[in-house]
Amino acid sequence: MSTNFNIFAARLLSQDELFTQGHRACQGCAPALAMRLIGKALGFNMIVANATGCMEIICSPYPFMAWAVPWIHVAFENTAAVASGIEAGIKALRRKKRHYIDTGEKIAIVGIGGDGGTMDIGIQALSGAMERGHDFLYVCYDNEAYMNTGIQRSSGTPFGASTSTSPAGTHSIGQNTQKKDLAEICAAHNIPYVATANVAYPFDLIEKMRKAKEAKGPAVIHLFAPCPTGWHCTASSSIKLARLATETGLFPLYEVVNGKYGLSLDIEKLRPVEEYAAIRNIRDYLYDETAGCKDAQGRYRHLSPDLVARIQEQAHARYERLKAKVRMTQEW
């Protein structure tokens, strides 16, 4: 499917920084990196509608603003609806020749929300906007919990992760539900373009942003972006963990183009999820950081081997299911 993994040409990337320095993200923040890559991919001819969430908070404490493009924040749950209005407004004004933008060039209207703002409170507005067929693109940056409010679980939080509202304890394994499958929900709306992306694969991410922009109709990108603060991992490990999430099959990279599935990265042999959860050395890590695994995620430190085995099963099953969808739809 995608050939992006065979090239590495950072110099060919845009030198423009649309998400500029000086924002207030934590060290190692992968969503902030995602914003930067989105900017590079789409260029200055875009309008951002941002949901309430960590990216909105860190980029816009008045009078500072990290985005170099027009940007609007309205509320937590309605970003897709706001983007609908922007799209409709521009469409009407252009048709009536009353628009201030005289070139016919397509403006990328981008809704950006986190996993909570998308998969929980914002899913109705997103579903509505997809169903109505607005020509916009929506990016859910997924750091797997409500991070700026204090690491509370969302429906994007994976099974077994400990958060402040799904804490692990003597009577709890942490999050005991399955991560909501946003890409599948969006694909079920029969929109032209759905993809998963990951900050650890920047060229793939950029390519997918461009495809999403060009799609005629709604396009959704589910973008994996670790949060060191929320995951209780070191700031330097966010990219490594992001890569492991894909390599273990927990967050596979794929596209659904007009209903047709395609793997962006076909992993022949998935790595064991133990590596991702860094469970093997967690006891060492707890007692002696220098001896232990620096890439361990504190949110998984309570996991017992049988729970890790369950996560492993889920990862394999999901990946197999995905591959079956690819095989099936490629035959169409």
Partner: protein, 393 residues
């Protein structure tokens, strides 16, 4: 005798026709009784090509207003309509629309709030939105509903204002009633209403940020600026209504006086019931009683000074609210009027009545009784905080 033609028209349709004449660019709405006729007719107008607009049939009122903010932010003339629970669902976004200075026009076919679920008229929904920072007015009849729709876009989009407006009209008793309406020509409306030219808009060639984080150091100032803006909008509202009157001969004021000359007792009301109240005033005047009616057209910005002038010299002021501020001061309008008059050296007795909730009828004769009874209440020296009228116990 010739003059402008009066056309029998449902009031909801008249509002839609006004929106068409205003050449709205985006209409975003979700159906809710009794607002539905407004947007149904607009959808039909758009479908027939009589209005070049984007009609967004959203999945909730919350999204309706959110989409309106998006379209308004790019500089499109934007309209929506709602009622009751729909307005309640919008309230979160109403605060944001006004603080972000989005000149959206919203018609609200006033309806009671659940529970128990009730689709008929009272003003609970409008009062829920009282502090959202929108300009709010209440119309009395179909002609006014039509005229105010035309004025709304001009007021809201004026660069000195840049605030959203709710046009409140009573659900069913006004929205679904056929009244004689005098329409303006499309040409007249074009001359009256300039194109929308916002100060700021989402434009990639000139990027701006809308709705950033308001840290404690600036939040208070932002609120103050909003309050000053809505208070300052009063001058523009008066100006636009005066211009409308000059052009088309129909004159509107924030506070309307009806037979108030030398009145000892004044009844205050809002919305469609004031027509019945006029009847009550007429019948009592015929009996030689010095009573009059003060009709509040503009509710936000609240016309404090006008009311002090209108009510300050009366002996008794009766405020009739179509909403109950549960567990609180009773009638929201009454409590605002009390506070407006409180610091006057000599102030009238204020009698607060609450009624006509959830579509319950209050007749002309009942208003006349209330006026007469309130004089006795005021004379007794022991005025209750409020009284709910027509309660079967």
């Amino acid at each position: 005798m010739t003059g402008p033609k009066r056309i029998g028209m449902e009031v909801s349709i008249a509002i839609s026709e006004a929106v068409r004449q205003c050449d709205a660019d985006v209409i975003s709405a979700y159906p809710i009784t009794p607002q539905t006729h407004v947007v149904e007719h607009l959808a039909e107008i758009a479908a027939q090509g009589h209005l070049d607009c984007e009609f967004i049939p959203v999945e909730s009122e919350h999204s309706a207003l959110s989409a309106c903010i998006g379209s308004s932010a790019v500089g499109a003339r934007t309209f929506t309509a709602t009622a009751s629970q729909g307005l309640a669902l919008m309230v979160e976004i109403m605060y944001i629309a006004s603080a972000m200075r989005m000149p959206i026009v919203m018609a609200v076919a006033n309806r009671a709030l659940s529970a128990p679920i009730n689709i008929w008229c009272d003003h609970s929904d409008a009062m829920l939105a009282r502090d959202t920072g929108w300009i709010q007015y209440f119309v009395e009849n179909g002609q006014e509903a039509y005229d105010m729709t035309l004025c709304s876009f001009r007021i809201a989009e004026d660069n000195r204002v840049m605030l959203p407006i709710t046009l409140n009209f009573d659900g069913f008793t006004l929205s679904h009633v056929i009244e004689p309406i005098v329409m303006l020509t499309d040409e007249q409306v074009r001359e009256f209403l300039p194109p929308f030219t916002p100060l700021y808009r989402l434009d990639p060639k000139n990027p701006v940020a809308m709705g950033p984080v308001g840290i404690p150091e600036i939040y208070t100032e932002a609120k103050k600026a909003h309050d000053e803006a809505i208070l300052a909008s009063r001058a523009v509202i008066d100006e636009v209504w005066a211009d409308f009157g000059k052009r088309f001969g129909r004159h509107y004021q924030a506070v309307e006086h009806y037979r108030t000359e030398g009145a000892q007792t004044l009844l205050v009301g809002m919305g469609g019931l004031t027509e019945s109240m006029r009847g009550a005033v007429d019948s009592l005047r015929d009996k030689g009683k010095k009573v009059g009616l003060i009709r509040l057209r503009l509710f936000r910005p609240f016309p404090h000074e006008d009311l002090r002038k209108a009510l300050g010299d009366a002996g008794t002021v009766i405020v009739f609210d179509r909403c109950l501020s549960t567990g609180g001061p009773g009638g929201p309008v009454a409590s605002e009027i009390r506070s407006a008059l409180y610091n006057l050296p000599k102030k009238p007795a204020i009698v607060s009545f609450i009624g006509a909730l959830g579509g319950r009828d209050v007749r002309t004769s009942q208003f006349a009784e209330l006026i007469e009874r309130s004089e006795a209440i005021a004379a007794s020296g022991s005025i209750p905080d409020y009284e709910m009228v027509g309660v079967r116990e």
